[in-house]
């Protein structure tokens, strides 16, 4: 999903940077609030950023005969809500743009919009939706990470199609072209990302029950569960 340096026309590059900026500002605020109010979160925040660091460095072969990489943004979005991932994802992208010549500074805004903003929000929305319907935690986690990954690449396809519409078939033609490069390749990788996120969440459940409860990922079964039931009963 890394659009290479200089590969978006200036107007598009600026527009996506402007679109991303408020999300990143919001993210910096919510990140510093989290660290100030819950200093004990710092370690888990670091681990969430580290997960994105690892996964976005892994170029994995896919069924289409190309390689692509997961994003790792679903985990942090579930744990700390999406704004925090706008920052952690952008830091990862910045590292790759500066040291690896992967992505770029002019395309940082567009890449941040897909990987650090839309991906986390889409994954988080799926997570909340499934949780509302009492889907088991690990199933919700899987689909959240899956959607965070896949939606990121769909956004990249749209961004490129907007910038480079096909001369004959227009925006939709270009969308099909970029979509076939990114989106289909990404499906098995999104499955892998879902499974890896489930793995890390399982390890967290085993090792950090207290923190997951505080973050609202695990629910204390006694009080809230009973109250939830009586509320629904009262409604019925």
């Amino acid at each position: 999903m890394h659009i290479a340096e200089g590969f978006l026309p200036p107007a598009h590059a600026i527009a996506w940077s402007v679109a991303s900026a408020p999300f990143i500002v919001q993210g910096v605020r919510s990140l510093s609030r989290e660290v100030r109010e819950h200093p004990e979160s710092t370690l888990l925040l670091g681990a969430s950023g580290a997960f994105t660091f690892v996964l976005s460095a892994l170029k994995i072969p896919s069924v289409t005969g190309s390689c692509s990489h997961p994003t790792g943004t679903g985990l942090g979005a579930i744990l700390f809500r999406p704004p925090v991932m706008a920052v952690l994802g952008t830091i990862t992208l910045l590292f790759q743009a500066l040291l690896l010549a992967h992505g770029g500074l002019t395309t940082l805004g567009a890449n941040a919009f897909s990987m650090a903003i839309v991906g986390p929000w889409a994954g988080y929305a799926v997570y909340r939706l499934l949780k509302r319907y009492d889907v088991p935690l690990m199933v919700s986690v899987f689909f959240a990470a899956f959607v965070a990954d896949l939606s990121t690449y769909c956004v990249t396809s749209v961004q490129l199609a907007l910038a480079f519409p096909d001369p004959s078939s227009g925006f939709l033609g270009a969308l099909g072209k970029f979509g076939s490069i990114f989106a289909f390749t990404q499906v098995p990788l999104a499955v892998s990302e879902g499974l890896l996120t489930v793995l890390v969440m399982r390890l967290l459940v085993q090792s950090s029950k207290g923190e997951l409860t505080r973050l609202g990922v695990l629910v204390k079964k006694t009080a809230t569960g009973a109250r939830g039931k009586t509320e629904t009963e009262a409604k019925a």
Binding site: V54, A57, P167, V198
Partner: protein
């Protein structure tokens, strides 16, 4: 104990499925229909851009570019290693803390038991206490 190993089994299974998803496309030769199999999707998008708009010239180039593919690979590996290191630190620290807490709890429970025992023993021996020193000192 059996519950622990079931957990571990599920974790190993998850890793195995991810590994299979990555390895199978290569083993099954799913890239064979391409001139250059298993290139990066990001690089393919660049090619697609130049196909759609052959006149497009990137208007900015990276400030730093790894001088060779090998160095690029090394930097990617470094990125993964940094992330994996932080994750390993986190889980290692958690496990150590948990073990420490368990040990402290076990020690405290042990002490409490000892106090109870010596307390009872003390009561029983109270009449003779003047003659014999406390048994736990020995």
């Amino acid at each position: 104990m059996s519950k622990m190993s079931k957990n571990a089994k599920i974790n190993i299974l998850l890793v195995a499925v991810v590994a299979a998803l990555a390895v199978l496309p290569v083993v099954l030769g799913l890239g064979d229909h391409k001139k250059e199999p298993f290139t990066g999707a990001d690089a393919q998008a660049e090619t697609a851009i130049t196909e759609i708009d052959p006149e497009y010239e990137p208007w900015f180039s990276p400030l730093y570019e790894p001088p060779s593919g090998d160095i690029e690979s090394a930097l990617f590996a470094l990125q993964a290693a940094l992330g994996a290191g932080v994750l390993a630190y986190y889980f290692g620290l958690r496990k150590g803390r948990r073990q420490g807490e368990e040990r402290a709890r076990a020690e405290q429970a042990g002490k409490a038991e000892q106090v109870e025992q010596t307390g009872e023993a003390g009561k029983a021996e109270q009449p003779e206490q003047a003659h014999a020193p406390a048994p736990e000192g020995a």
